[in-house]
């Protein structure tokens, strides 16, 4: 088991290097550091000294890939690519354009993101699975047909509409909770209720439909027929047999997204003014702050790969038939 995990971690390294090369090409080769400096300092009347200063401050004043002025190995290491990459791998994200430590910001903004993402995931799972089981219980009746229609309709509504509609109805007309904002501690709850509810509602359509397919697939299996033949009631068959077996794909589907919960939801956070990583990223995109976007790309990739690893491990834990080799 440990050998397997180690090997998987080693396998992740070339992928991270690939991600790094790709983002480097995107951020530094398509537009040179000079372009970026000019962009940030304003287009017109930029002195070469100002550009040099801006670049030196951020460590962009070296050659991109190969430094001809150095000897031997230093020709490769004393470049923007090498310096920036090594720092990323050490999770040292440097400073943003507004002169803040990115690593510190991320560690602070992670918590509001989690405060929304975790309840959305858990409540969403509970609601979707319950609803899907209900549909599976009444399969091939009008309840089933109309539930599927409802799911497709809910899937076809843009997530933006749920948010805008929810904010308008609950906050503006009914004045139940504040429209947006955030607070620390227990008082944060009144800010979190609406985003969580909207997040859950927005996910019902696709989630329930997906779980329904999983349950129906299991219901057609032989062991279910055996269980029924033994004279077990439909409820026992569904809850004890079908649910347990369908949990394998459900669980692994959940585990994949677990690490990415840290990244937060871009849209929800910025609509509700929650200072999480999602709104952090959006602000960075709007301010064209490359250091932050680059850090978030790297972080996202690491978390995704971690998710894949966790999925494989969780397979062996819930399904004894799968052996890691």
């Amino acid at each position: 088991m440990i050998a397997y995990i180690l090997r998987r971690i080693l396998y992740a390294i070339p992928i991270l290097i690939g991600v790094n090369v790709l983002t480097f090409v995107l951020f530094f080769v398509v537009n040179s550091p000079d372009d970026m400096a000019r962009m940030h300092l304003g287009m017109k009347r930029v002195t070469p000294e100002a550009i040099q200063g801006w670049k030196a401050e951020r460590g962009y004043d070296k050659p991109l890939l190969l430094n001809d002025s150095r000897e031997g190995l230093e020709a490769l290491t004393d470049t923007i690519f090498f310096q920036k990459s090594v720092k990323l791998f050490q999770f040292d994200f440097g400073i943003s354009d507004s002169d803040r430590d990115i690593g510190y910001d991320i560690s602070q903004r992670m918590w509001p993101s989690l405060a929304i993402a975790v309840p959305v995931l858990l409540v969403g799972l509970l609601v979707n699975i319950t609803y899907a089981l209900l549909i599976a219980f009444f399969r091939a009746t009008y309840i089933d047909i109309w539930s599927v229609v409802l799911c497709v309709v809910m899937m076809s509504i843009s997530g933006l509409f749920y948010i805008i509609g929810g904010q308008y109805l609950v906050s503006k007309l009914l004045h139940l909770v504040p429209i947006s904002g955030y607070d620390t501690g227990v008082s944060a709850i009144k800010f979190l209720v609406l985003p969580v509810i909207i997040g859950v509602i927005g996910g019902i359509g696709s989630g329930t439909r997906w779980y329904r397919t999983l349950f129906l697939e299991e219901i057609n299996r032989d062991y279910v027929r055996t269980a029924r033949a033994k004279g077990l009631s439909e409820a026992v068959v569904l809850f004890r047999h079908v649910l347990k077996n369908a949990m394998i794909p459900i669980l692994t589907g959940v585990v994949v997204v677990l690490p990415l919960l840290f990244m937060g939801s871009l849209i929800t956070e910025s609509f509700f003014g929650i200072p999480g990583l999602g709104s952090y990223t959006i602000d960075a995109i709007n301010r064209q702050d490359f250091a932050i976007v680059r850090a978030m790309v790297f972080l996202g990739s690491v978390l995704y790969i971690l998710g894949l690893l966790l999925t494989d491990i969780s397979y062996t834990l819930v399904d004894p038939r799968v052996r890691l080799s």
Partner: protein
Amino acid sequence: MTGGLVILWTDGLIFLLLLFTVVFGVYASRREHLRGPWRLVVRSRVGVSTLVVLAFYVIVGLLDSIHFHPLAPSQEAGVESVRSGEVISLFDHLVTPLRERHEKTYSAPLATHLYAKETIELADGSVLRDYPRLQFGGAHLEDPHGDWAGDVLKLGLIGLSKGLLVTLVVGNILLALLAGRWRMGFGDAARAVLWGRTIVPWRVALVTLGVLLILVMVSIELSTGYHLLGTDKVGEDVFYQALKSIRTGLLIGTLTTLVMLPAAILLGIMAGYFRGWVDDLIQYTYTTLNSIPGVLLIAAAILMLQIYMSNHADDFNSLVERADLRLLFLCIILGVTSWTGLCRLLRGEAMKLREVDYVQAAEAFGVGHFQIILRHILPNVLHIVLITVVLDFSGLVLAEAVLSYVNIGVDPTMNSWGNMINSARLEMAREPVVWWSLLASMLFMFTLVLSANLFSDVVRDAFDPRLRNSR
């Protein structure tokens, strides 16, 4: 009226795609294994009615994809009119009144007065603070407060009857054609269709078409005198914007797939067929791309494009061209983030097919790899490609709205549902609420996405034999 034809990049590609679809249609109609599923699609009631709705959207989108320089009306008689610098589409030309009738600022749907109070100077020199009359909306009414309801009702009824008339004409032509094809009398054919006894549910198709035509006719009638869905902040007709956004939505949904298909098919099949280091390399490529969060990759790429465009502003002739290139680039980058799923599916399928007897036999006969892939593997994975293309469409249309909200979607000057929602969002805080922009974009987007979702379900059920048997 038409001046010089302008072919934008996306225009060219959309017609190329249309050509592909036609060629594929001809190809599929000659092969039973592809024709059979399509037959199932058109025999399903949901399939037929969504097809009619989608066809409506496609027609508007295609009309909006033929661009040209309009001739500017010449001031003096006898002088030949000159081409103007602006670029408009055939669709713009058809709905010229909608395009050109600008108000000052917001006005509610079908309103006769502006949304905000203004200081009006009366004829006798006195000043009054009131809602001014609109320049175009309800301008023909003598007494807007008294006549308004009657006039709207009258126009609506005219539209309704025109719609019914057109439906009757189209329906009769269709029935006559069907009667000719089935070699039976017109009456028998009409009875079979209206009683719903045909294999292809023509009745459903006719009803859907009728509803659409009536809606179109009513909209046209009401648009002659009013702004059907109100006007936006700068006084542009919201109905016109929503219609123009159809092209953007369709382009994002289809061009993205067109861009990613060659790479996904080629690499997926190669990985599954050759295995070994080819497989490793391709798997590595898509795992790497996949592990970058999609939104961030798109954001990074669009940011870079913006910088490139602002540094090379001279390379673009017009705003339209610039917006168009940005749209194309967005499709490409969306394609880059979304091809991995299909690639993985095709790899698995190619691996399975590689072991099938006829492929082994072909190999034993010394048929080249290229020939085997082309003749035996590709035709057998086409249904997967098709299902993916149709399934991805609605997701991409929805994604456009979200991306535009984050400012990394289509160009802000381009009409798109995302941009409409984005600008309408801020107006929800006004009192009274400006809801029409939001509602219009949501309505148009919802109809398209819902039809696409329902249609893709039908297509998937028809093409996936495993699902078909389990029902």
